[in-house]
Assembly symmetry: C2
Homo-oligomer: 592 residues x 2
C-alpha cells in the first residue's frame, strides 16, 4: 500500500475522499467514509464514498470479491475501501467533481458501521421540517451545505483571531459564573450548591469584566465569548450566542473603528471579497432623518427627504397641521413605484399605520403628470418643487408622511425597507457597512419616567456634550456607535466612562443611589478608583455575521446545535426535570 | 510630533512604554500609562511610566512647566506624557530594561485619571493575602508576573489553534445549555423560565456533543471549551475551567497521540523548549507496578521493584504472611536515604499507613552494611540479593511494603513522591511526558457493587479484549489513555464505541436498562444507529497545562478572575441572592 503522508492520513485511511486526482493513478489507497449514493450500471456497482472533504467514486465489478458487499451497502453505511486509483476513461471524467478524473477499483470493502434507513434523504432536505432536521442534527450536518457553514464559521473565527493577535490583542477568558443582579431580568441564573439561596448569573456579555481588564492594564483584550439571554426567542435569537468582543485602552472612537474595519477586510478577503475601510459613518440623528431607522441597508440609494420647507404654506391640512404642531413633512421616492396599484398603496398605508402614522400620502408620476387622490391639495409650484427635490422621473412614486419627527422617521424607514423588497432597486454595492455614531446617551424610560441609558450604562458622553448632563440630559450625544452591514446591526460599542465621578453622575441621572450603584456595578466603580485608563470597545454578533455571509435568514443554520424557539434541544431533550434529591441539595422547590 | 505607525499607536499615544530605544532619540513622542514609581534625584523628578509592554523613564526638570505636576503624581495615576526621547548618559543607561538606553524629557503631562492609595504595593505582593489579591484583582493583574501569565495563556491558546487548524481541525462551539440528567450530581443547573420546572445543565465536558459531531461527519473537531463542575474546590480546581478538547474520526490511539505530541512540541517550542514525540508510553498495569500511581513524575528515575520472588522463602512473617495471602513484596530505593533519622522513618511509615499499609519495612545501607530494626529477619542471601536487585550503594535506604498489590502500589507510589520531595534526586529531564494506556474498562462501584466505567462510559474495550466482556468484565483492558506531564494528569481520552450494540452491552454491564440508557444517553446512542464512524479523542486541562508552564501551584494564578475555594468571586460578590420577583418568574422557592 502506498501511503502518502498527508496530514489527514490515519490508521483507517491513507487519503480523504476529496483529494485523489489523476496524479494518484496507479496507487493503492484506502479511503473511509459514508456511502452517499450507489448505482448499478451494466452490472457494475458505482458507489460514491463521502467524507467532509469530498466524494470519490468507488467501482466494484461483477468478477470482484467485493462485488457482493458493494451491492449490499446502504445509504450512510460507514465503509473502509482499499483499491487502486484508476483514470476514468476520458468521456466518463466528471469535471464538476475535484476527484472526477479518477475512480477507485475496490479490492477490499469493510463495513465499519451500518445505518438504519434515514428519516430524510440528505440530498432532498427542502421539504423536511426544521423539527426533523434538529432532532436528527447529526444527519442534517452531514449535508454538504450545512457542513460548509460549520467549516466557514470555524475558519473565519481563526481569521479573526489571527488578525487580532497580530495587533497584540490577547484573548482572555472572562467568567461564565458571574454575579446576578436583582434587576437582571434576562439573566439565566445558576443556583450555588455551596451557598444555599444564592445564585450565579450567566453573562449577557463580558462588558464589566472586559472593562475591568482594561483597568487591570491588559491594554487590548478580545474574546469570542458565549453570551446568554433568557428572553423570548425569534428567528435570529438564541438563548446562547457568540460575540466577537473587544476592548482597547487609550483609544478614541476612530481607533476602534480602524481595528474593526481591518478585521472585516480580512474576513471578507478570506471569502474572496474586497471590503475597504474606513467605512462611511453618519450621526445617529442624520441616519434617522435620511433612513428612518438606525440600521439602514445602504446597499440601496433610497433616501428620505425633508419637505417641511417646501410645504410650509401648504393648503393641505395634513401637512399644515403637522407643521403647526412642530412636526415634519418628509418624503421618499420609489423608483418605478408608479406600477403600484391602489391596493398596493393601501397595503403600504397599513404598514406605516402600524408604525404610528395616521395615514400616508402617495403620488404616482406617469407620462409627465402626477396622479394621486390628494393631488388637488398640491399647488402647481409644490408639485414642481416636489418633482425637483426628489428627482422624480416617469414611472416613479412618491410617499409623504406628515407627523411628529419621532413618528415620521420610523414610518418612512419601514416604508423604505418595503420599497426595497418590492421594487428591487439596483444594489450600489454588495457589502454596505455603516458606522452609526453618537446615539443619545439617555432616553426616558417609558415605565418609570426616569432617564435610562439607550445602549450601555458605561458609555461616555462626547466630551463637548458633557456640560449638558446638568441642563439637558436628553440631548447629550454619546460616544456610542453601531456597526451596520446590509441593514443588520452587526455590533455595538462605545468609548466608556473611566472616572468614577462621571460614571456616578450618569447613574444618578438614571435614578440609582450610591447603594444601588455599589450593589449592581460595585466591581467596576471600585476599579475606577484606582487608575482606570480611558478605554472603549465593541461587541459584534458572530452568529449574525456568519449568517449574513452564509446567506441564511436563520442563525440556526450557522450554529451546530441550536435550540428551538421554545428553548429546547430536540436532539438531547434539554431542558429536563431534576429529581427530588438534586432539588433538595440545591435548597430549591418548584412552585406552580 | 513624530508618529511612528506601530500597530499600537492610538489617539492617546504614539508608542507603548516598552518600545523606545536609542534609535528613537530626538523624536517627540507621546506615551500613556501608569505611574509605577517616582524618585527625586538632585531636584530632578524621575517617573517610571508603565504599561503592559514595559516601563519608560520620564524626566521632569525643575525648570520645566511639567515639574510640579510630575512631582504631584501618585502611584497608579494614569498619565499621558509627551516629550523628547533623549539618550541617557552612558553611565546612566540601564541594561536590564529594554528601554534603558533612553529617557523621555517630558514637555507635557496630562493626568488621565487619579488613583486612591493602593491597598497593597504592586512591587511587594508576597505578604499580601490571596483574599486581598482577589478582591483587588484589577491591581493584582497589573503586576508584571501576573500580566505575563495572562499573556502567555492567551498566546499559547493561539499556538494551539494554529497547530490544529493546520491539521484541518475545525473549532465548533457546542452548547452551554445542555441536558441535565437525574444522575448528574455534579452538574450546575439552570432553570428554564419558559419551561417551568425544567432545567438545563452546564456541561461537565463537551463529550457527548463532540462524539455527535464525529457522527455528523465533521471529521476533526476541537474546542477550547469551558467546563463546569459543582463540587468541592481544591487548589487546582475551579467551578469553571478550560479544556483543550478534540475528537477525530477514523483513528486509533496512536493517531491521536501523534496529534497531541505535535501540539505539545509547538507549545514548548514557543517557550524555547524542545519536546519531542513520540512520548514514552506504558501499560496502566505496568505503571502501577513500577510507580504505584497512575500519574508518575518521570523526571525522576526512582522505580518500585517486585521482591516477591526474592522473599519467597522469607522467615519474616510480615513477608511470608503477605505472600501466603496472594499479596506482594515490593521495594523502592531512596538514593542518599541513609541520612533519614528514626523519626524521619516514623513519618514515612505514617505516610504509607495513610494509604492503607499496616507498616513499612526500612533498611539503611551504611559503610557496606545494612542496618534496620528488622534486619534480623533477613537471611544473608536475602540481604545480598536485595542489594543487587536495587543496586544499593553506600548511603542509600530501601523501603519495603508487603501487602495486597492494591495496597502496596499506592503506598509505595506515595512514598516515591515523598522521597523525591525529600531527597531531591537528579532530574533526568525537564519535561517528562508519559502516555499511560489501557486502563481497565470497568471497575466495581464501591457503593452499588455494580460495574461502572473507570473513566468514561463511551470508551471502547481493546478489540482483542472484547470477548472478556462476557466472562471477565473486570479484566477488560480499554482504549483509554492519560497523558501525564511531570506527575500531573494533563489529559484523558480514548477511542470510543461507535456501534450501538457494543455500547449497549457495556451499559448493560453497568446496570442501565434500555430506558435509562435512552434517558441519559439517548442523543448519542440514537446517532449510533445512523452510520457512526470509528472515532476517538482527548480532553486536556488548559488551566493545568498553563499552570505547569508558569510554574505555579495554583491555577488561580493563570485564570484572570478565579473563584475562591468557596466558589465566590470576591471582586463582583458572586454568587448573590435573587429577589422574590425573579424567583417567582422561575417558579422557584428557596427551602432551608
Amino acid at each position: 500500500m502506498t501511503t502518502t503522508n498527508t496530514s489527514k492520513t490515519t490508521a483507517l485511511r491513507t487519503h480523504t475522499c476529496g483529494e485523489l486526482t489523476a496524479a494518484n493513478a496507479g496507487q493503492t489507497v484506502t479511503l473511509s467514509g459514508w456511502m452517499d449514493s450507489k448505482r448499478n450500471h451494466g452490472g457494475v456497482v458505482f458507489l460514491n464514498l463521502r467524507d467532509l472533504y469530498g466524494v470519490t467514486q468507488v467501482v466494484a465489478r461483477p468478477d470482484s470479491p467485493v462485488f457482493k458487499i458493494a451491492e449490499e451497502t446502504k445509504s450512510e453505511y460507514v465503509l473502509r475501501v482499499t483499491g487502486k486509483v484508476t483514470l476514468r476513461p476520458g468521456s466518463n471524467a466528471n469535471k464538476n467533481m475535484p476527484t472526477g478524473e479518477i475512480e477507485l477499483e475496490a479490492s477490499e470493502i469493510q463495513v465499519l458501521n451500518a445505518s438504519l434507513p434515514l428519516p430524510f434523504d440528505l440530498g432532498e432536505h427542502a421539504g423536511v421540517s426544521e423539527e426533523t432536521r434538529l432532532k436528527y442534527r447529526f444527519l442534517d450536518l452531514r449535508r454538504p451545505a450545512m457542513a460548509k457553514n460549520m467549516v466557514l464559521r470555524s475558519r473565519l473565527s481563526q481569521v479573526i483571531r489571527n488578525y487580532l493577535y497580530n495587533l497584540d490583542f490577547n484573548e482572555i477568558e472572562t467568567p461564565m459564573l458571574t454575579r446576578s443582579t436583582p434587576e437582571g431580568a434576562r439573566d439565566f441564573v445558576v443556583p450555588s450548591r455551596s451557598n444555599p439561596g444564592e445564585f450565579y448569573a450567566l453573562p449577557q456579555s463580558p462588558q464589566q469584566f472586559k472593562q475591568v481588564l482594561m483597568m487591570s492594564g491588559m491594554d487590548r483584550y478580545f474574546q469570542l465569548a458565549r453570551n446568554f439571554r433568557d428572553e423570548e426567542l425569534r428567528s435570529d435569537r438564541q438563548p446562547e450566542h457568540t460575540q466577537i468582543d473587544l476592548e482597547m485602552s487609550f483609544v478614541d472612537e476612530q481607533d476602534i473603528a480602524r481595528v474593526v474595519e481591518g478585521m472585516m477586510k480580512d474576513v471578507f478577503a478570506y471569502l474572496g471579497e474586497t471590503v475597504a475601510g474606513p467605512f462611511p459613518e453618519m450621526e445617529f440623528s442624520d441616519v434617522m432623518l435620511k433612513y428612518g431607522i438606525d440600521k439602514p441597508d445602504l446597499r440601496y440609494a433610497l433616501e428620505i427627504k425633508d419637505c417641511s420647507a417646501l410645504f410650509k404654506d401648504s393648503q393641505f391640512k395634513v401637512f399644515s397641521g403637522a407643521l403647526a404642531e412642530g412636526g415634519v413633512v418628509r418624503a421618499i421616492k420609489g423608483e418605478g413605484g408608479a406600477v403600484f396599484s391602489r391596493s398596493d398603496m393601501d397595503k403600504l398605508t397599513d404598514l406605516v399605520k402600524k408604525h404610528g402614522a395616521k395615514g400616508l400620502v402617495w403620488l404616482r408620476f406617469k407620462e409627465g403628470k402626477w396622479e394621486s387622490p390628494t393631488l388637488k391639495f398640491f399647488s402647481d409650484a409644490e408639485q414642481a418643487a416636489l418633482k425637483d427635490l426628489l428627482e422624480v422621473k416617469d414611472g416613479d412614486a412618491v410617499f409623504i408622511a406628515a407627523d411628529k419627527a419621532a413618528v415620521a422617521a420610523p414610518c418612512l424607514g419601514a416604508l423604505r425597507t418595503e420599497l426595497i423588497a418590492r421594487l428591487k432597486p439596483a444594489q450600489l454595492k454588495k457589502w454596505a457597512f455603516l458606522w452609526v455614531r453618537h446615539f443619545p446617551l439617555l432616553e426616558k424610560d417609558a415605565e418609570t419616567g426616569n432617564w435610562t441609558f439607550t445602549h450601555n450604562p458605561f458609555t461616555a458622553p462626547l466630551p463637548e456634550e458633557e456640560h449638558k448632563l446638568d441642563t439637558d440630559p436628553g440631548n447629550v450625544r454619546s460616544a456610542q456607535y453601531d456597526l451596520v452591514l446590509n441593514g443588520v446591526e452587526l455590533g455595538s460599542g462605545s468609548v466608556r466612562n473611566h472616572t468614577r465621578a462621571l460614571q456616578e453622575k450618569i447613574f444618578a441621572l438614571m435614578g440609582y443611589d450610591k447603594a444601588q450603584v455599589q450593589s449592581r456595578f460595585g466591581m467596576i466603580v471600585n476599579a475606577m478608583d484606582y487608575g482606570a485608563p480611558p478605554h472603549g470597545g465593541i461587541g459584534m454578533g458572530y452568529d449574525r455575521l456568519i449568517g449574513i455571509i452564509c446567506g441564511t435568514d436563520s442563525i440556526r443554520d450557522v450554529i451546530a446545535f441550536p435550540k428551538t424557539t421554545s428553548g429546547a434541544c430536540l436532539m438531547s431533550d434539554a431542558p429536563a426535570k431534576l429529581d427530588e434529591r438534586q432539588l433538595k441539595e440545591l435548597h430549591l422547590k418548584i412552585v406552580e
